[in-house]
Symmetry: C2
Subunit: 286 residues, 2 copies
């Protein structure tokens, strides 16, 4: 059976209801398109874990705090459909803007705490937009399981918290970050980088690894660990670090002293492109 | 089959899934208990329109801006269960506080615009609490249809807007306000009134009717209509009007000049009790 494409919510509801009526479990991979091998990993995991697999492709304007980031976001629908077909996705939902937002939205899903630091601080309104569109997609698809990438670790924590707080029936599953041979995390925004920008973008992962090495060598002061990590950027004058933080992996609150596993997360700017990445680090509790 | 009672979300999910698997449509009536004939009307309508009918009873703390209103809210579970059994409700979900809020919530559903005026203005945070708990109940029960009373007209408009904006699959159905012989709208809070307070509480409905009469006589100035309505309270010194407003029935924005159907809504205080009511009024478009 080939991958079907739909643009309207009513088509998704009908297809999902029909699949469910035959006893199939429903899987969901929400994306903004411009699919790459990182999405491929998500989709392959989801394919194995779903009876009927829905991939959504929608560049959600209300999660972009920067209008030019929104307008420049790569759009590659034809490629994306072939990509999904190769991976035996059952159904692609690619709604137009006015199908998702037929009127000025008045309802927003607001997550606090877990959404406050890091991306939440540097991209005001971002997680409100993410939580709102994910709530919409969860209500449209009513999946049994949905897959999200570890690359957006805080987003994953925000969505897990939303699901727990609002009692969504969808189980959230995490897929690991996929990296280029040199370690750069795959991201649709990498497409915007010039060859030189692409080369120096590795600075972020190097800095995260420097933090992880410091933690694994026994350093417990977050301030000292961050200082060591930020030194990496001295070698990359073309790269502007936006933040590098060490956070509790579930609650995403910043930690001052390492006493267990932590998420080290950062954001940089390279030219006009903003990139994020993160690693898990830390000793087991003594 | 008798009415079953459950206190845990997992029980609701299992019961609803079993009912749905037999092809029954799922109906939901969310309540805060202290059931009266107004709820009876809702439940009877819902009974007729549902294969499997769930009534929820939960006094939701996060929608009370006034802690003493929350602590004084009447609790009559034994009566409520008998009330539901008499009306052939299939399933009552009466969760404890820590089943609905096992941790400090970080996620809220925030509705603007439709939630800004009237109750939204006088009860800060009220509609955020309502929208959040209704989203939770919708996710737990996943009903095909849910019934709400016209008595809380702005709440109904807020929930309709939330359902539209967030693409909930639950259809919202309105049930008309039920009134005492003298016109007082039924409310669980009426239980708190002394006989004298009960007598003068009719002031609100009288004022709403005065506004409606002015509108139906052709008056179009909201300011003049409100002035005429508020004169009613001169006869009721024990009653303090909180607001009396004329709003667009869907968007719940205040109108200055009547040009079509409007919702006239008000709130009063009688002793320590706060009561609300509303009527639909207005000429057809010329």
């Amino acid at each position: 059976m080939s991958t079907r494409l739909a643009h309207f919510i009513r088509e998704v509801r009908a297809e999902v209801a029909a699949a469910r009526a035959t006893g199939l479990s429903i899987g969901l991979v929400p994306t903004m398109g411009a699919l790459h091998a990182g999405h491929g990993r998500l989709i392959e995991q989801a394919r194995a874990g779903s009876g009927f697999l829905v991939v959504t492709i929608f560049v959600n304007p209300i999660q972009f705090n920067d209008p030019s980031d929104y307008s420049k976001y790569p759009k590659t629908l034809e490629h994306d459909l072939a990509f999904c077909a190769e991976r035996a996705v059952d159904f692609v939902f690619a709604p137009a803007l006015d199908e998702m937002y037929p009127r000025e939205p008045q309802t927003f899903v607001d997550v606090r705490g877990v959404a406050d630091e890091m991306e939440g601080r540097f991209r005001p309104g971002h997680f409100r937009g993410v939580a709102t569109v994910v709530a919409k997609l969860f209500n449209i698809v009513q999946a049994d399981r949905a897959w999200f990438g570890e690359k957006d670790a805080q987003q994953l924590a925000v969505i897990r918290r939303m699901v727990a707080d609002l009692d969504f029936a969808t189980e959230i599953i995490e897929a690991p970050t996929v990296r280029e041979p040199d370690g750069l995390a795959l991201s649709s925004r990498n497409q915007r980088l010039t060859p030189e920008q692409r080369r120096v973008s590795i600075a972020l992962y190097e800095a995260l690894n420097a933090a992880r090495a410091a933690i694994e060598s026994g350093e417990t002061s977050a301030a000292l660990i961050k200082e060591r990590a930020l030194q990496v950027f001295a070698n990359y004058p073309e790269v502007t670090p936006e933040y590098l933080e060490i956070a509790d992996p579930d609650g995403m609150t910043l930690v001052d002293a390492i006493s267990g596993p932590v998420r080290v997360a950062g954001a940089i700017r390279v030219g006009n492109t903003r990139l994020i990445d993160n690693v898990l680090a830390g000793r087991k509790q003594p």
